[in-house]
């Protein structure tokens, strides 16, 4: 985010417009943006000043830019945007926004020190633009002031942190935007999009197995998005996809983007209500996604996680893996917070219902050097997942031991958890119960051992003496 100083240096809109509009461009001005006309004409631009608050293109004027003033932004809705796309189909649209969803404004309204801020939140505006077929080409934002209410400092900080986790745009006070026409990306109900990370150049054999396993999935409809950094050749993957597409079980495409932003771009292009991630070295069992999606459909959870295998393998001639071991994870019948922290590979065993996570950003950093994104932790902080226990249904296949898996950035200590007190009480009670059971088991084991060796002459006394000595050493 920029600093407040940058904002004070000049009008946000004027800075934005003069920074992006080149000489001799054709510019349409709507609402109070009309004040910019002189500066643009000085640059040799052809300027049309709309008379009303809505954009209406004059005959023969094909705008390359449309600038929306405050009033124009306030009136934005699906109808206005449709008119804009129709009247200026090629134009880049420039505007600024005072965020009605800023954490500062929301908290002030909640505590009753200010009325609700009028207009759109940044989240709502961006969603509106996306649905109308625009994508953000430029976004410069200014953060909220650090303290705006008389709430206790800790309380305000934690409330803001939770809002930030749900939607980072709540931290935005004001912003300047340039959006350009793009294909609409409305979510398709029931569709599962699987983003397949191909960035670490998996061998042809492993990639083939990943795609073969996906092609034989029982979950339909299924969209596969193969994602790789710019410059990486995916022609072999495309050939495999073409072959497996004959099973008629999926649609597929490839996405290239600048390194670091590949998964984010793939998520942006994913059309499915349900979203999942996989590495091109992993395989899924046929019912994997079906079980996860069913768990979401049958309950209220926003995301679901399956038990998976860490598959330890060594390459053989031909590059195919010789599997040495499969270790299921996470263990137990419940998914604990600890699992999300310890098993970053759960990133590759989840399905998210995008209709239930609001504005939570699902775009993640790209995996790098065996490090995986922290999406499970971010999701888990706000949304209790449903855990599909039972038999593991996918394999996270990495050469060498699973200990090499790490998250790209460890979860921040400031990550807040949204859970009811009842949930915490239940967790603590369970942990206490498990501790007691373990102690009882230990006692039973010692009793049993004691009974067995009692019958052996001499051994019992020796073992007891040894145990006493060890106990004394432990207790200074």
């Amino acid at each position: 985010m920029s600093t407040g100083l940058a904002r004070e240096a000049g009008g946000l809109l004027e800075t934005l417009v003069l920074g992006r509009v080149g000489a001799r461009a054709r510019v349409g001005l709507v609402g109070e943006a009309r004040g910019l006309a002189g500066a643009l004409r000085e640059r040799g631009c052809e300027v049309y000043e709309a008379t009303g608050p809505d954009w209406k293109a004059p005959p023969g004027f094909s705008a390359s830019f449309v600038v929306l003033g405050e009033e124009g932004v306030a009136r934005l809705d699906a109808t206005a945007l449709a008119a804009l796309r129709h009247g200026a189909p090629e134009a880049e649209v420039l505007f600024t926004l005072r965020n009605a969803g800023a954490a500062s404004a929301l908290l002030e309204t909640l505590v009753g020190t200010a009325p609700a801020r009028p207009g759109l939140s940044e989240t709502a505006l961006l969603a509106l633009l996306r649905e109308a077929g625009y994508r953000v080409a430029h976004r410069q934002v200014w953060p909220c002031a650090p303290r705006t209410t008389a709430l206790a400092e800790d309380a305000e900080r934690s409330l803001r942190a939770l809002l930030a986790q749900l939607s980072p745009s709540t931290q935005v006070e004001e912003g300047a935007y340039a959006v350009v026409p793009d294909a609409p990306a409305a979510l398709v109900p029931g569709l599962l999009s699987v983003v397949l990370w191909c960035g670490e150049a998996p061998s042809q054999g492993l990639l083939d197995e990943a795609l073969f396993s996906l092609a034989c999935q029982e979950q339909h409809p299924l969209e596969l998005i193969l994602a790789a950094p710019e410059g990486q050749d995916l022609s072999a993957a495309r050939a495999l996809l073409e072959r497996y597409a004959r099973l008629g079980t999926f649609t597929a495409r490839t996405v290239h983007a600048a390194p670091g932003g590949v998964l984010a771009e793939a998520v942006r292009q994913a059309r499915g209500q349900y979203l999942s991630f996989l590495d091109a070295r992993c395989v899924v069992y046929p019912g994997h996604f079906t079980r996860l999606v069913r768990a979401l459909e049958e309950g209220p959870a926003a995301w679901a996680v399956a038990r998976a295998f860490h598959t330890e393998w060594v390459p053989t001639v031909g590059g195919l893996p010789y599997v040495r071991a499969k270790i299921p994870f996470p263990l137990g019948e419940r998914l604990e917070l600890e699992h999300l922290l310890k098993d970053p590979a759960l990133f590759l065993a989840l399905v998210v219902d995008r209709a239930r996570v609001g504005a939570l950003p699902l775009a993640t950093d790209d995996p790098a050097g065996g490090r995986l994104p922290d999406l499970p932790v971010r999701l888990g902080a706000l949304f209790e997942p449903v855990f599909v226990a039972g038999i593991a249904s996918c394999e996270v296949r990495q050469e060498g031991a699973p200990a090499s898996v790490r998250v790209t950035s460890p979860p921040a200590a400031e990550t807040w958890l949204l859970r009811t007190v009842a949930v915490w009480e239940e967790r603590v009670a369970r942990a206490r119960e498990e501790g007691l059971s373990a102690r009882e088991f230990r006692h039973r084991l010692v009793d049993d051992l004691n009974a067995r060796i009692r019958a052996v002459p001499g051994v019992h006394a020796t073992v007891r003496a040894l145990a006493e000595r060890l106990k004394q050493r432990r207790e200074p």
Partner: protein, 283 residues
């Protein structure tokens, strides 16, 4: 193309046999698509496909004809069981001069495009090859194999190549096994006869039954076959345990198999120390 050339009569040197029993249409469509991939795969041998239907009626004839025009489909008129049905096809295959390999194919699998090529290539790699199995995918069977020699204690019948040499020396499946365990028995007999029993890791077949709904009939059938296997190889404890489980599952009484005293070479390869895995597990 590679692998065995055509027979003297111009027919393929490899036969694929598929035994049907009331299979869903979609399953056969997927299988046929995968067979087409295998025909088109670079270096794939020419192969013929024979269908033998054990279903109570001939409804699948039209399905097979639609999925594979001109298919060689036969209706058996009775549920012969897995081993007996394949034996019929195998006898016909090896009765045809020039046919070198017969491959049993389970109709609920999807063959990887390289499956047939890799199976045949592995079989041709050594003259003493008896059996070669495809690797089950994506959930590989945990029984061991040597990644260098590819030798394995036994081969699954899901996608199993039987060489002419194996058929000549040990015959086909023991038809007393209606279904299940006949593959273990054939593998042990092949090994006892000095033949090599291997996996072709590149030959993958998508076949996953772990989450298949539990069926009491299937569970009883597995126990009955396992008891027969135990008796055939003289393991009294294993046989008794399986018969007890069979009874507990409500199995109809049947004449318990007589405990045999197998030849030493057979007894040496049999492994009843690892329950239904019949070998040490890798995981």
């Amino acid at each position: 193309m590679s692998g065995p050339g055509p027979t003297a009569a111009g027919g393929p040197g490899v036969w694929l046999g598929i035994v049907l029993y009331r299979n869903p249409e979609r399953e056969l469509e997927r299988l046929c698509t995968s067979l087409a991939w295998n025909r088109e795969a670079p270096g794939a041998p020419a192969f013929g496909v024979k269908w033998l239907d054990n279903s109570p009626d001939e409804r699948l004839r039209a399905v097979v004809a639609r999925c594979m025009p001109g298919a060689d489909y036969r209706f058996s008129g009775a549920n012969l069981g897995f081993g007996a049905a394949h034996n019929r096809l195998m006898a016909e295959a090896f009765g045809t001069p020039g046919v070198r390999h017969y491959v049993c194919i389970n109709p609920d699998g999807v063959l990887h495009p390289d499956c047939v090529r890799a199976l045949v290539a592995e079989a041709e790699r050594r003259p003493d090859t008896g059996l070669v199995e495809a690797r089950l995918f994506p959930d590989e069977h945990p029984k061991p194999y040597d990644p260098r020699t590819r030798e394995t204690p036994w081969c699954s019948g899901c996608v199993l190549l039987v060489t002419r040499e194996a058929y000549t020396r040990v015959g086909g499946f023991d038809e007393r096994f209606f279904m299940y365990c006949e593959d273990v028995d054939l593998s042990w007999r092949a090994r006892a006869a000095g033949l090599s029993v291997r996996v072709a890791p590149e030959a993958r077949v998508h076949h996953y039954t772990v989450t298949r709904e539990l069926s009491a009939t299937r569970e009883r059938m597995v126990r009955r076959s396992a008891a027969l296997l135990g008796a055939k190889y003289g393991d009294a404890a294993f046989t008794r345990a399986r018969l007890r489980e069979y009874a507990e599952l409500g199995g109809e009484p049947f004449a318990a198999p007589e405990l045999a005293k197998p030849e030493r070479r057979l007894a040496r390869v049999a492994d009843f120390g690892h329950h239904f895995d019949f070998a040490r597990r890798r995981w």
